[in-house]
Amino acid sequence: MDRYDVRLSGSGGQGLILAGKILAEAAAIYDGRNAVQTQSYGPEARGGASKAEVVIKDGEIDYPKAMDLDLLLSLTQESCTKYSGDLKEDGIMIVDSEIVKYPPEGSFKLYAAPITSIAANKIGKIVVTNIVALGILSKIAGVVTEESMRKAILARVPKGTEEINMKAFDEGWKTGEELLAE
């Protein structure tokens, strides 16, 4: 398979770097393919718009930074505006429908869901927003297997939080299904 470039964007503290790591590990360790994950560093990465990128490929990954994006996830308006320029024409954009009010125009496929609210209301923990997003994303992108995603999540989240995170993933996955069905 050709390379698949993903960017997860939002603001510092939303757990997107962890999400990136999980996605990459799902692909590379559990699906046995290759994946590289990068992110921005330093004080600039603290507040404001932040991002994590994952490139997935079967063969060796040359250029490690995301180039033409196959998928962009945006949890804030600022990050959506700032980071959507590289999205492919036939790419996928997933946004938090309640926060990203003005997604850019383009020929890409746009999927909007109230991701943060799902975490807050359906799971009751805003910290699992990233996992909800991963559920949606993996369903829609179809680039990693569901099983690998679950394994990767369980290997990464703090002990004792496995259940709630699985619930979050389930909710996301379900939301993804709904979005695809629409």
Partner: protein, 381 residues
């Protein structure tokens, strides 16, 4: 890369791979001073080393960190420090000391953009000439590079091996991209890893000369505390290790410090070649930029442009022979790098005017994307 070798598969950052490589190489002493984008090397080792009985210390500054690893190395420990440009500048005096006193140790520089504080969180390759010439005085230098987490793991091990073999500080230059990119690393079984330990003296303490002149040109320094009492100094010294002002002794010493690297060049240098056999355009690229170049070689070939890649794994000693060989084959050489042509000048020198050498320097803290290099090559064609 080594995806088909058996071993444990893990996802890790280049910086973590460096720490893992150090442990695998037998490093049991790390002294450092935090600096972005290298700090994760220290952080990982601060957790790992005490578990193995090894020692981690965060020193008060970079001069101290460099001094501490030299001290530790003299007790027989494999020792390492890690830093980035500003700290690398500060370590130079003591790196020179390690060169002069012939103390094996490893210095990792995870390059950011400079000069000065520059771009602490963005990549560059602006310290490659500094790795060669950063310290005052003449001596040979070994500097390796790596382009991925896997290679960082392997090259860290190699850095220790070369340090122990040639009794010299060895520099590993990676950049922020390599240091901070998380990717797959296959950790081989310990038994599959080649590990070199420095030689031990085989004569009695009475007959021992720490800096004995031999054909090998590499001294044998007994670890402190093992019954061989001798003197180590940064002053010019003779075979005994004591300071000297004797003209012959000094000329011998200074020449040997360069020769001991030069004479083993073929041993030390390693290159990777990609489709160079029939290439018309040669690309010389190292570190993270070599990944761009790999992609570009394939892209250009698809376009019908015969591009090949020479990718040095060792920057110093410079792979002049390989460059010269390439220069005899190709019509032009392109050198993409994250600086304004620091290695391009070496390529020019080594290609002995056989072909034009084109530089492509990017210094805005961004990697060179494949497209940019492709365009440069199209221009050259």
């Amino acid at each position: 890369m080594s995806n088909d070798r058996p071993g444990k598969v893990r996802m890790m950052q280049g910086n973590q791979a460096c720490a893992e490589g150090a442990i695998a190489a037998g490093c049991r002493f790390f002294a450092g001073y935090p600096i972005t984008p290298s700090s994760e090397i220290a952080e990982n080792l601060s957790v790992m080393l005490p578990r193995l009985g090894g020692k981690f210390i965060q020193m008060e500054d970079e001069m101290a960190a460099m001094g501490a690893i030299i001290g530790a190395a003299l007790t027989g420990q494999k020792s390492m420090t890690a830093t980035s440009g500003p700290g690398f500048s500060l370590k130079q005096e003591n790196i020179g000391y390690a060169g002069m006193a012939e103390v094996p140790c490893v210095i990792v520089n995870v390059m950011r953009g400079g000069p000065s504080t520059g771009m602490p969180t963005l990549p560059a390759q602006m310290d490659v000439q500094q790795a060669r010439w950063g310290a005052h005085g003449d001596r040979g230098v070994i500097a390796l590079t790596a382009k991925s987490a896997q290679e960082t793991y392997e090259q860290t091990i190699r850095a220790f091996n070369l340090a122990e073999k040639f009794m010299t500080p060895v520099i590993l230059l990676i950049d922020e991209i390599t240091g901070h990119t998380t990717e797959k690393v296959i950790i081989p079984d310990a038994s599959d890893i080649e590990i070199v330990h420095r030689k031990k003296p085989d004569e009695d303490p009475e007959n021992y000369l720490p800096y004995r002149l031999t054909d090998e040109c590499v001294p044998i320094l007994a670890p402190f505390g093992t019954g061989y009492r001798y003197n180590v100094t940064g002053l010019c010294h003779n075979e005994t290790g004591f300071p000297t002002n004797d003209s012959h002794d000094i000329q011998c010493l200074i020449e040997r410090l360069t020769r001991k690297i030069e004479m083993y060049e073929d041993d030390i240098i390693r290159n990777n070649e990609l489709m160079l056999e029939d290439a018309e355009i040669g690309v010389f690229a190292y570190g993270s930029v070599a990944r761009t170049a790999q992609a570009v070689v394939r892209m250009c070939r698809e376009e019908g442009i015969k591009v090949g890649l020479l990718e040095p794994k060792v920057l110093w000693p410079f792979p002049a022979k390989a460059v010269f060989a390439m220069a005899q084959k190709v019509r032009a050489i392109v050198v993409p790098e994250l600086n304004l042509g620091q290695m391009a000048r070496e390529v020019s020198l080594a290609s002995e005017c056989r072909v034009p050498v084109h530089k492509l320097g990017r210094v805005d803290g961004r990697p060179i994307p494949p497209q940019q290099l492709v365009e440069k090559i199209r221009e050259v064609v």
